[in-house]
């Protein structure tokens, strides 16, 4: 079951949800957040926390994302300048004490330019780990805007679902799959995707009733709907647009065109 697989993967990302909660509840006033990626030293966690405690004299917290071995450091009360200064000290310290170390740091403060959503936090961690330069990186609003979209793929055909999942994942979208109309409606409510890419012929519920149901779901932002279907009857196409579908693509489809149309929906 591809759905449950993706859901499991999401649970590993619990760290970022946890961080979000701490930032919002425990440190609502001001808190610097620094993500550090530095492969090599085994005791990196204690090394970092000891050094920073000495330097700042305040209560800092270090958390670890086990799957990528990226550290998240919370600096309560730090302004952006202070956090940057600490990062510079930390970087020099690591370079001096650990041979051949190449620490990569991304940092920002909350509340600041961006809100501490799990997506943003994860993106920060990734920019620390995968960023091109070894300079300390300050995370800004412009970057957060490119947060990956969530797409729910609904189709009864295994091949189509697999193809779309791989392709959309490569473009950086987060995806989930549903086989039929009924489970798709449940997933939309639970997962709140930004876009639903759906066939019209589905088991359970399909066609226009399905589209109407999506729009009536009690979710904060009704997802955009892109129909990708065998159905080529003009009347159905125009009815779909009347019922608020964002785009309509017929099978067989051009993947490049599909990319372009989906990309436009996210602008």
């Amino acid at each position: 079951m591809p759905e449950s697989l993706t859901l499991e993967r999401k649970q590993q990302e619990g760290l970022y949800h946890n961080l979000e909660e701490r930032l919002n509840k425990t440190f609502p006033e001001l808190c610097g957040v620094m993500f550090l990626y530095c492969p090599g030293p085994p005791q990196l966690e204690s090394l970092v926390s000891e050094f920073l405690r000495q330097e700042t004299g305040s209560d800092i917290e270090v958390l670890k994302d086990a799957s990528t071995s990226t550290l998240a450091v919370l600096l309560p009360g730090s302004t952006l300048n202070q956090a940057h200064y600490q990062a510079l000290l930390l970087k020099r310290h690591l370079e001096e004490t650990v041979p051949e170390a190449d620490p990569r740091i991304t940092l920002t403060v909350f509340p600041g330019q961006v809100d501490p959503t799990p997506g943003v936090l994860k993106q920060m961690a990734e920019s620390a780990r995968l960023g091109p330069s070894s300079d300390i990186h300050i995370f800004t609003k412009e970057e957060a805007a490119s947060e990956p979209g969530r797409i729910l793929i609904v189709d009864n055909d295994d091949t189509i679902r697999e193809f779309l999942t791989i392709r959309l994942n490569m473009q950086g979208y987060e995806t989930l799959e549903a086989l039929d109309g009924t489970s798709a409606l449940e997933l939309i409510e639970k997962w709140e995707p930004d876009l639903v890419l759906t066939e019209l012929n589905l088991y359970g519920i399909d066609g226009l009733p399905f589209i109407n149901q999506i729009q009536k779901l009690p979710v904060e932002n009704t997802p955009k709907i892109v129909v990708l279907t065998e159905q080529r009857v003009e009347r159905t196409i125009s009815q779909c647009f009347q019922h608020g579908v964002d785009d309509y693509i017929t099978k067989p489809f051009s993947p490049v065109e599909l990319d372009a149309r989906i990309h436009r929906c996210f602008q």
């Binding site: 039929d180 109309g181 009924t182 012929n201 589905l202 088991y203 359970g204 519920i205 399909d206 066609g207 226009l208 009733p209 109407n212 279907t229 065998e230 159905q231 080529r232 009857v233 003009e234 009347r235 159905t236 009815q239 017929t250 099978k251």
Partner: protein, 470 residues
Amino acid sequence: MLVYGTVAIYYVMFVNILYFAIMGLSYRSIGTIAKRAKYSSYQTLSGSELVPSVSLLVPAYNEELTIIENVYCLMTLNYPTYEVIVINDGSSDDTLSVLIKEFKLEKMHNPEIRGTIETQNVRGIYHNPDYPHLFIIDKENGGKADSLNAGINFSHYPLISSIDADSLLEKDALIRMARMYMENPEETVAIGGDVRIANGCLIENGAVKRVSLPRKIWPMFQSIEYLKAFLGGRIGWSRMNGLIIVSGAFGLFRKDYVIAVGGYRGGYPGEDMNIIIKLHRYMLSHKIPYKVAFCPEAVCWTQAPDTYKIISNQRMRWGRGNLKNMIENRGMFLNPKYKIMGLITIPYNVLFETLNPYFRITGLLALAGYTLLDMTHWRILLTFMLLNFLSGYLLSVGAVILEEIAFRRYKKLSDLWKMLLFSALKFVGYHQLGVLWRVQGHIQYLRKNNSWGTMTRQSWKEESETASTA
């Protein structure tokens, strides 16, 4: 007396030869059927503008348990343009209100009813723009034929399809039929679908998820019976254009010709056979080339009665309807004007379906009498009965093989053995009961007992719950 015995023996021999000939025709068609079922690109067809639109007519009388599931099933078919028209035939239960509640329907103002076939008073038509292809007609009770006529009057499209409210269509069933229709749209006037027994299958979301044989014996016998009748019989009959019935559970018709023959005949069961005979009659007497086809790859799953009372009721009703149809159309009997229909199908039905019980009973009595009077040896009697059984068994096995060649819906090996076993068991008891029910039906006809009889339904959920726990 001896002459009668000889006649009875020849009768049995002849009927068996005829059965084998029909099955032979089925075998000649099965290769083509298997290939087209496998390789036709139904996916592409199911979205094409060129496929003709269909109105599905679903007569419902006291169907509150199954109707919602069925409507959901019918609304998710793989088909470009179609509408679902449920006709509530003055149900005494909550059929109408459960539909209104589930689909939030509202009564239409000034619905446009274009057809002119006489029906019982239509009380109202219900619709919800959120489900643009669903309509409910609420009318006063008038029987199944009357409901279908009311549906025809309201329907918007040139093809109509009658579907029983206790049946589930496979997602591709309708497009498969339409593909067959599109091969010869000028001449095809009616197409029948393959009806199978859903008891024992796992049903989810209004679709059959896992196919397996029924666990109760009544539905099990009927499974074999249906397989034999549809695959062994109807494929062969349709090959020579002599099909006398398109099952009421699932059939596709040209609306213009159904209207031309005056719609369905009310007031008596057997309306599904009646409409086909009327179509044959109309086309032949107007000398229009035509075809009544059978589409075995279009599958409809139906709930079979699972108690003695209900199945006997159903079979008596069939016997009654059959007798009525034969008497009504006696003018076609051996009438060369009606070609295959008049020369083969109708005589076959009269001699080997309607009168079958009497030949069997008297033949058996005669043979038993001979043995008692020592006019023949008991061994001959035994040999005769054994031969009779073997040919019957061979026909059932033949149908199972047809199924295995073309469709393979039953995936488990144990199911295959079970089918072979019950094909044999059928001749001990069930077969004889069938003869009895038919005679009882005829008695009902003579007594002018014209009720539909009870037909209780089980909700699909219960069905599949028992299936999943098995």
